[in-house]
């Protein structure tokens, strides 16, 4: 879904872990899932601290 975010002009974009569970993974046990979620959120916070002059699609965190 990131191409849509790019098209409409979102500035800080990171890919999630899947449309039906952007911040999860049903194939992982709860603990591993939370670790994954934390990795994505930390990446998101990193983008908020990144100076930008134009929109950027950041690479997949994990």
């Amino acid at each position: 879904m990131t191409p849509i975010a790019v098209m409409i002009g979102a500035n800080r974009i990171i890919p999630g872990a899947g449309v039906v569970h952007p911040l999860g993974n049903i194939d992982l046990d709860p603990k591993a899932e939370k670790t994954l979620r934390r990795a994505i959120v930390e990446k998101a916070l990193e983008t908020l601290q990144t100076e930008l002059t134009e929109q950027k699609l950041f690479p997949r965190p994990v």
Binding site: M1, I4, G9, V20, L23, K34, L45, Q49, E54, K56
Partner: protein, 350 residues
């Protein structure tokens, strides 16, 4: 073609020769025959039609009491039994453009008389009236009068003759958002492939529908000190309290909601679910943190990585929501976040 087209021409105080800005508050008056630019129109019409009357009205008069002014203008034109109303062209004059658009729209709607006007693309009248009225594209000043008049007369004659009016680019008017079926010799598949090939090669191509235009917002400055920042969570994945008590829309949203998560360390499936027809919500229903990562954010807050997790989570369902409503919703959420001193937002999209 119908001989003896009777046209009434609408002008503002300036083009009507009444005066400049100092006469902008003058009410409407009617004169027989063409006045000012009407001469150019008459010259192009030749024996195919006649400008039987010209109605001149001050731009401020019209802007300040539009409903009344339109009524007066329509009443003035009726005795002339017009087949056609031509307004302007208004070029880049905003109040004039609005008046021209309104007069044409009213003539069409209330008197059933076809109408045409002309404006420069930045005239506010364009966006407001292009769907209702044929507005030909003009330059930004009266130096483009000849071309404007030519386009307007062309459309006027076709409207009267009930001839098919060609595409906006061909006839020189602003796209009206009308989609019309046509027969062509190339199948849709062939046309689509041609477009894709052109796009890949970086060559120009004409889309068959008008594409929405997305603006760009300058990226806000980065957060310098995350440890003292207030971060909020938001989503367009349709997060709602179990049972959807606020009856939030599951698609074509017109509003958003905020939920107080003060003191809550994790989103529970007992308390929240996803209300969104655009994706299978089962996994979010099982664990809403998979949509709105409250559990992780709360940890990060306790560890001091972020200063504070904002007490409110914002949510709406994004699927099939119109661009206009999306803008409204986004702006509404942003206003509240700003008022609450939020420094950054993580929005989860599905």
């Amino acid at each position: 073609m119908s001989p003896g087209l009777r046209a009434v021409h609408y002008l503002n105080q300036f083009f009507g020769g009444v005066g400049g800005e100092e006469k902008a508050s003058e009410g409407p008056q009617v004169k027989d025959g063409p006045i000012g630019p009407g001469g150019a129109l008459q010259g192009l019409l030749k024996e195919r039609g006649e400008i039987v009357a010209t109605i001149i009205c001050g731009d401020n008069y019209f802007a300040e009491r539009t409903e009344k002014a339109v009524e007066e203008v329509l009443q003035m034109m009726t005795p002339y039994r017009p087949d056609m109303v031509i307004a302007g062209p208004a070029f880049n004059a905003g109040r004039y453009g609005m008046a021209c658009g309104e007069v044409c729209k009213a003539a069409q709607g209330k008197l059933g008389i076809p109408a045409v006007t002309g404006m420069y693309e930045e005239n506010p009248g364009v966006d407001l009236y292009k769907r209702a009225v044929y507005i030909v594209k003009t330059s930004d000043s009266a130096r483009g009068m000849a071309e404007a008049a030519s386009r307007m007369v062309n459309i006027a004659l076709k409207l009267i003759a009930r001839e098919k009016i060609g595409r906006p680019a061909e006839e020189g008017y602003f796209p009206r958002g009308i989609i019309r079926d046509e027969r062509t010799d190339k199948s849709a598949a062939e046309r689509a492939v041609s477009m894709v090939l052109a796009k890949i090669k970086g060559e120009p191509f004409e889309p068959e529908i008008e594409l929405p235009k997305f603006d760009r917002v300058k990226p806000p400055a980065a957060i310098k000190d995350l440890a003292s920042a207030k971060i909020a969570l938001a989503t367009d994945g349709g997060l709602v309290p179990r049972g959807n008590p606020d009856k939030m829309e599951s698609y074509k949203s017109t509003r958003f909601a905020s939920y107080n998560i003060k003191g809550i360390d994790s989103l529970s499936s007992k308390d929240f679910e996803a209300n969104h027809i655009g994706y299978e919500t089962e996994f979010i229903d099982q664990d809403p943190n998979r949509l709105v990562p409250l559990d992780v954010m709360r940890d990060l807050e306790k560890e001091g990585v972020i200063g504070k997790l904002h007490d409110k989570v914002y949510a709406t369902a994004g699927v099939a929501t119109s661009l206009a409503n999306s803008k409204k919703i986004g702006q509404g959420i942003a206003e509240q976040l700003k008022a609450d001193g939020v420094d950054g937002v993580i929005l989860t999209s599905t």
